[in-house]
């Protein structure tokens, strides 16, 4: 019989993969796009380990070890490229590189955005409590530098 744990783990892997896919399709910050790619890799890892457990074979787990390795390499190289792109444009925006698009794709033009989403945060202020102790300067001359 098909075990329920395998079914659930595969579903969780699918959900994680889809979330990462939506993130990499929509988000415009290069770093968040890479985070979404890593999320897709996590979904794949969960599926591989679930199948590995189902078959009683450790090949899936070994493959996940390589996924981890390649993800580490990819993150190092990709972040270097992100830094290079940032030093050229001053933005972490994927749309800053839209001059590389195909000829027939229309140019993306941002609408005007208000400066911030909401009013600046209001931090709580502590009400002054207690009474400042009175000090006798003449009695304690050695404390004047304290």
């Amino acid at each position: 019989m098909f075990p329920a744990l395998l079914h659930d783990a595969l579903t969780v892997g699918a959900v994680l993969f889809v979330l990462g896919l939506v993130g990499i399709l929509t988000r415009r910050n290069l770093i968040v796009m890479f985070l979404s790619a890593e999320l897709m890799l996590q979904g794949i890892s969960v599926s591989l380990v679930a199948w590995s457990r189902y078959h009683g074979d450790f090949g899936g787990q070994a493959l996940v070890v390589f996924v981890l390795t390649v993800a580490a390499c990819e993150a190092a190289v990709a972040l270097v490229f992100v830094l290079q792109a940032f030093s050229r444009t001053g933005r972490l925006d994927a749309a800053a590189w839209q001059s590389l698009r195909d000829a027939e794709v229309p140019r993306r033009i941002d609408r005007e955005l208000p400066a911030t989403d909401a009013a600046p945060p209001v931090w709580p202020q502590l009400t002054p409590a207690g009474v400042r102790p009175r000090r006798d300067e003449t009695a304690e001359p050695e404390r004047e530098h304290v």
Binding site: D8, A9, R28, I31, Q61, F86
Partner: protein
């Protein structure tokens, strides 16, 4: 039992989960404020729909005879999914990275429940400990103060959410069909079955041995020895390549400044 339940019982539930999850993702993705009639209520509506989607998904899994027996699995997968969704929809990239760390904790928990101790710990150590810190370093270097405009809008959130929903529907349908009746064409010869039926020695009889760590090590350094060497080489190449690209960029920058 599963086959009896699946065609009638769980399909509408799964469909509802996927649909409300899609709409919730669309509502929660960063968009310019006031772009439609929902206004600032879209966040609250998206959250409600997301919770409904998660509940429907969990309920569908319970009807299948899964979740619920495994309370730990349910909790850690909830953490993973909520963390992943928040990674995608959070506006601030720093918070996004922190949510990703939470999703990693959930994934590590799922891996632990599935019996992959080494991978669960390695996920925490390598991802949350190294890769995520690298992401945060780059964010600190490159993130402007406050929310940049490109963090507050996204590319085609509706189309992307629909694409994700369609893919999720296809995946859950095929997983459900797989569990209902594994078709004859696609049943993979299971190693567990092979071990159970074939008369082999005592070493091969323990399909899930008492020490899975040792078995993973044997697998890695036996069947995949060459791949391990290649992975080591890949790490070295990535290290050297990253440093080379950075330093070449600095040289180019210096020459450009010197020329101007």
């Amino acid at each position: 039992m599963i086959a009896a339940l699946l065609p009638t019982g769980t399909t509408p539930l799964l469909a509802a989960a996927v649909a409300s999850g899609t709409v919730s993702l669309w509502l929660l993705l960063p968009q310019a404020p006031g772009s439609d009639w929902l206004g600032h209520r879209r966040g609250a509506l998206g959250l409600v729909l997301g919770v409904a989607a998660l509940a429907a998904l969990a309920w569908a899994g319970r009807r299948l005879g899964g979740l619920g027996d495994e309370a730990v699995f349910q909790i850690v997968s909830l953490v993973a999914i909520v963390g992943g969704a928040a990674t995608v929809v959070t506006r601030s990239p720093v918070y996004s990275a922190i949510w990703f760390a939470l999703a990693l904790a959930g994934v590590a928990g799922v891996l632990l429940v599935l019996g992959a101790q080494f991978l669960g710990v390695a996920t925490i150590v390598v991802y949350a400990g190294a890769i995520l810190v690298m992401f945060l370093f780059v964010l600190m270097l490159a993130q402007p103060s406050g929310l940049a405009p490109y963090d507050r809008v996204s590319n085609e959130p509706l189309l992307a959410a629909i694409a994700g929903g369609v893919l999720l529907a296809l995946l859950t349908t095929s997983i459900g069909r797989l569990s209902a009746d594994p078709p004859a064409c696609c049943t993979i010869p299971s190693r567990a079955d092979a071990v159970a039926t074939a008369p082999v020695g005592p070493a091969a009889a323990d399909a899930l041995a008492a020490d899975p760590l040792a078995r993973l090590g044997r697998e890695l350094f036996g069947r995949h020895l060459l791949a391990v060497e290649a992975a080591g080489l890949l790490l070295l190449v990535a290290l050297v390549g990253a440093i080379a690209v950075v330093s070449r960029g600095e040289v180019a920058e210096a020459t450009r400044k010197g020329a101007s």
